[in-house]
Amino acid sequence: MTQGTLDWTVETREGLRLIAPIGRVDETTATEFAERLAEEIAKAASDGHKRLAIDLAEIEYMSSRGLRGLTLAQRQSADSGITIVLARPNQIMREILAISRYDKVFQVFDDIDGI
């Protein structure tokens, strides 16, 4: 991973688009993160998926920029009838989701099969 960019993998499952960014979402990558989320929502909508799952397993951590990017994505996806869910946060992300109370506004899954 180069400084200031995120790598992504994408998978589709029954009714679900699963995306996995790799890296850290901070001030340098937050815009890229938000733009890519917007594209993924559009693709999920055109494929008729009802849910967009973000696999956080390879996300080191996320500052408020990334979290607020999730909020903007959630608004956009709600317009297309898509729900965003989060999966497999590492221990740091789990703490950040709890401190920011984002674990109260997003459903968080411990494993992919549970989604």
Binding site: E27, R65, R68, E95, Y102
Partner: protein, 319 residues
């Protein structure tokens, strides 16, 4: 430079109820575990050193009022209910020879930031000079209206001090008293302003309350990062959780601990004081928010550490 917090609560003054005090005493007795104390001082030392702040103390409940001690004249941010006690203390200092000159800096004129003015005793002293600075052109209207007969028995025109109003503009430094002052416009109903005070030694304090960093306007944050740049102490509105400020309480005009820490990290500020506490929060709630803020700072730190303190009524910080 010293910063003294006279009021740190947001929106509405609050007071501890009997049951809350009883629970603090009960928790302290359990923590003491049968220990004996020779005198009150020994018991006080135990309370200071061995009890959590939320048990042995309280964050207080007066609304926004922060004194910046620099030079011979008083500098004060906002006139929340904490201004009553500040006014009494300031009069006592004047009796001991302190200059009777006050430079007030107003973030905005919502109730919780002006309600202390009618009880601010220096306004009755004809020897006192009070200059009220703000970014708002309608400052005088707000303070006069608060003292109209329907709301308060003492009219503004009956006040004896020499009171004047000065409207400041953003983007330029002003030399006022012993400090240089700059201001920044903030997102809040009817606008609010943040202030940066720099003393002769180059130490600086930012007072930024009732400031919403909007989720869909993150592009506006660069201006705040610059304003907070290398600051020794940044006092920030951290009333809500990030989730609340971005959802249910969006557009309520306030911000979160998490965004304040991110901005201070980017600005390479040295210390952050959490401020404008949610009135529904108990001492334990505020203490938890403080601990979580310290943890978030650790988790997201990329450069020098940012010290995160939690303002409480009565706290003095040496800058």
């Amino acid at each position: 430079m010293k910063v003294r917090f006279w009021g740190t609560r947001g929106s509405l003054p609050v007071a501890q109820k009997a049951a809350a005090i009883r629970d603090k005493i009960a928790t302290a007795l359990v923590a003491a575990d049968g220990r004996r104390f020779a005198d009150l001082d020994e018991a006080r030392t135990f309370a200071d050193d061995e009890l959590e702040f939320a048990v042995g103390g309280t964050y207080g409940g007066a609304t926004s009022c922060v004194e910046i001690e620099a030079g011979d004249e008083f500098i004060l941010c906002d006139l929340g209910s904490g201004a009553r006690e500040f006014g009494l203390d300031a009069m006592a200092r004047c009796a001991r020879g302190h200059a009777r000159v006050y430079h007030l800096f107003m973030s905005h004129f919502h109730w919780d930031h002006i309600m202390g003015f009618p009880f601010f005793v220096p306004v009755f002293d004809p020897e006192t000079k009070i200059v009220i600075h703000s970014g708002h052109a309608d400052a005088e209207l707000a303070l006069r209206r608060q003292q109209e007969e329907i709301s308060f028995p003492v009219a503004f025109d009956w006040l004896r001090a020499q009171i004047s109003f000065v409207t400041l503009e953003t983007g330029k430094p002003y030399a006022i008293g012993a400090v240089t002052v700059e201001l920044i416009e903030q997102n809040h109903s009817h606008k609010s302003y943040g202030y940066r005070f720099t003393d002769a030694a180059g130490k600086s304090v930012v007072y930024s309350t009732d400031s919403e960093h909007k989720v869909d306007r993150m592009d506006q944050e660069a201006a705040f990062v610059a304003f907070f740049g290398d600051c020794d102490l940044v006092i920030c509105d951290t009333m809500y959780s990030l989730a609340d400020s971005a959802s249910m309480k969006e557009d309520w005009g306030h911000s979160s601990n998490v965004v304040a820490i991110d901005l201070c990290h980017q600005a390479q500020a040295k210390r952050l004081a959490l401020f404008h506490h949610e009135p529904t929060y108990s001492d334990a709630d505020i203490q938890r928010m403080h601990q979580e803020s310290i943890r978030y700072e650790e988790l997201t730190r990329e450069a020098a550490p940012l010290a995160v303190i939690c303002a409480y009524d009565g706290l003095t910080v040496e800058v």
